[in-house]
Assembly symmetry: C2
Homo-oligomer: 218 residues x 2
Amino acid sequence: MIKDLFNCDHVGKMTGDKRREQILHTAVSLFSQRGFSGTTTKEIARVAGVSEAMVFRHFSTKSELYDAILGDKSCHDGIRFPWEENPVLHEAIKNKDDYNVFFNLALNALIKQQADENFLRLLFYSALEEHELADRFFNEFVARLYEFIGGYIKLRQNDGVMREMNPRIVVRAFLGMLIHHSLNNILWDRNRRLLDITNEEAAKNFAEIILRGVLKKV
Amino acid sequence: MIKDLFNCDHVGKMTGDKRREQILHTAVSLFSQRGFSGTTTKEIARVAGVSEAMVFRHFSTKSELYDAILGDKSCHDGIRFPWEENPVLHEAIKNKDDYNVFFNLALNALIKQQADENFLRLLFYSALEEHELADRFFNEFVARLYEFIGGYIKLRQNDGVMREMNPRIVVRAFLGMLIHHSLNNILWDRNRRLLDITNEEAAKNFAEIILRGVLKKV
DNA sequence: TTGGAGTAAGTAAGCACTTACTTATCATAC
DNA sequence: GTATGATAAGTAAGTGCTTACTTACTCCAA
């Protein structure tokens, strides 16, 4: 019963691919909690419910196990762009509905970051530890996000409704609010002592602030 | 000569206190670069230019060495409030010169964060590793910062010049811009590929955005 | 001559990783 | 249907090296 619900706890033999995937997910979870050097292969094996030798059958070194995260499907799920499969955002952009563009971007980001706490932790660990993962995420995701949001701002500047200023500074300010808010909730203020608001409230306020900051008239 | 410049490299005997301090500073530097579990006592000793036994004479365990950072003077230098010894900010607050209040807060924060990269890295490592340092910094510094800036916003709301909204959300948005910008410069975009601006430019733009976001009329 | 600064050379436990072996699975031959 | 054998999943018990930490000592200035 329970084994069916948590298919990771499956006891007995598994197919190679399934076991590999399970070890990888266990590793991601542990690396995100304790970092690379804070995680031991012994513990990965223990949590995955196999012997240490099995870990090394599937991944020849601990580093290779970390590197394999890059190629993992669920990792690339974390790198899903906001404009993909988001008809509401598409509509808002088409209609040049500035508030809903920024509100939607904010809300989506906050929800995703909240749901994938582990991925955010992993990303920060890998940035501090200067692992390729951080670099790749930056180049493949963040850089494109800057182009996308920056592009929209430039468009609205050409329309004459937004003030002339470096669009990328606006993007940095906006993403700063979002990431900092998530980081507070995940890392520093888990019990919401300083600020306890819903994602909707946060998205609404951040969208308002950034728009008033950049629009010529509200 | 060099030994005088870098008083840490002093060879030969030192007084106990001086050696203790030097080992501590070496440790802070290494912990901030590689995290707690990524740093070995052997390397701390090597970089400090003493035997490992000396490290354990001054600090009975590796953890105690980490904990000692909390009590270190230079750590509390990192925790220096923006309203201390900053007459320009004081003046701006007294005159209710909103732009200069926020511009000053931003510029000071950015300069300090840039100068003390190591401290920021240490703070993030300790937050991820759930070390007391992060908690203490949050309670002693961040919480008070929220009260201070939030208090100013509330004051200006009572004056009728700022919109009615949760002041703490504004503080979060503002600090988010600042910290995220520094984090980008330190961690992800060291060569300023995405955005290459001076601290003054950043402070000016961030102050403008947050003020337009919260003021009734600019 | 004594007390504190300093070290060389340990120790036990823990680390990433290996070896030599045992079990389960399943297609095929009978 | 059942025995068989190849193959892949799995492990217990290591390997040598590194880790945090200790011991038993030397050196030197006051």
